[in-house]
């Protein structure tokens, strides 16, 4: 007669010894990728951007951002400036320097939607003079 032995039930446990390692790896990822943006008075809120439909993603690695406020203040490299005459060439000089550092530079505009177009035109004229010709107007995606 065959010797039938009941198999012993082994303890089944999910190994969780490496759980904290995984958690810390995730933690490191978020710590490294998090950017706390601290721009207070010059920040153009996202809900103040224009809304558009035909938008495209812009790779961040060759971009620089120019903020244009409703009161026609321009912020470039965290320095506020204004274009009131042809002698105000701060935008031009900073873009010439940036273009030398990165020939594939893309200038992104974060502009309040109620800004007068005149100031944008002045900035774009200086962009053309600095030979930084690729621009992107940052917008919100239309959600109908």
């Amino acid at each position: 007669m065959a010797n039938l032995q009941r198999k012993r039930n082994r303890d089944v446990a999910i190994p969780n010894g490496s759980m904290s390692d995984i958690a810390f790896l995730l933690l490191l990822f978020f710590m490294v990728s998090t950017v706390f943006v601290q721009e207070k008075q010059f920040w153009v809120e996202r809900d103040r951007w224009p809304i558009a439909e035909s938008i495209e993603r812009i790779p961040r690695n060759h971009t620089t951002t120019i903020y244009v406020m409703r009161d026609e203040t321009i912020l470039i490299d965290d320095v506020p400036t204004r274009i009131e005459s042809s002698e105000d060439t701060f935008v031009y000089s900073s873009l010439v320097r940036k273009k030398e550092e990165d020939p594939e530079l893309v200038v992104c505009f974060r502009t309040d939607r109620d800004t007068m177009y005149g100031v944008m035109s002045d900035v774009m004229r200086q962009l053309q003079d600095a030979n930084t010709l690729i621009v992107a107007f940052e917008t919100q995606q239309r959600r109908d």
Binding site: S20, T34, P50, R57, I58, D114, Y117, S121, D129
Partner: protein
């Protein structure tokens, strides 16, 4: 007198709650992280015009080759030489398609008044981009 030597207990840092702490921190960073993705309308500006009048080229384009969309300070649009009027997005799409039927290679010149809102210019450029038009010229008056 008998003096007993105290037994040394094992000194250990309790690590069982380490993963709880780590997960709490992860939740904090997940909640506060904002991936700043850039999205918008991309355009390539033309080269700056040469100061030398001899180098500058003058092109005369007809209505069949170029459509002027002039945005006024109050958001109205003047199409070529027509009267200014407010054009809704759907009407603007229809107008663009109508112009493309005349010439599939049509150039659209967006002339925005200095006093016009930036939003009005973006609205027109957005409709042109939606119609897959590549030849867009921006200028001001």
């Amino acid at each position: 007198m008998k003096i007993g030597r105290k037994r040394k207990g094992k000194a250990e840092i309790p690590t069982s709650s380490m993963s709880d702490i780590a997960f709490l921190l992860i939740i904090f960073f997940m909640a506060t992280t904002k991936f700043d993705v850039k999205e918008g309308i991309r355009l390539v500006l033309p080269q700056a015009a040469a100061d030398d009048a001899q180098q500058a080229q003058t092109l005369t384009l007809t209505e069949k080759e170029m459509t002027r969309l002039q945005i006024t300070a109050d958001g109205m649009i003047v199409v070529n030489m027509e009267a200014p009027r407010y054009i809704e997005n759907a009407q603007l799409d229809a107008l663009i398609q109508q112009k493309l039927q005349v010439n599939t290679d049509m150039i659209f010149k967006v002339i925005t008044d200095r006093e016009a809102k930036y939003n009005d210019m973006i609205r027109v450029v957005d409709r042109l981009k939606a119609a897959k038009i590549e030849k867009i010229s921006l200028s001001t008056n």
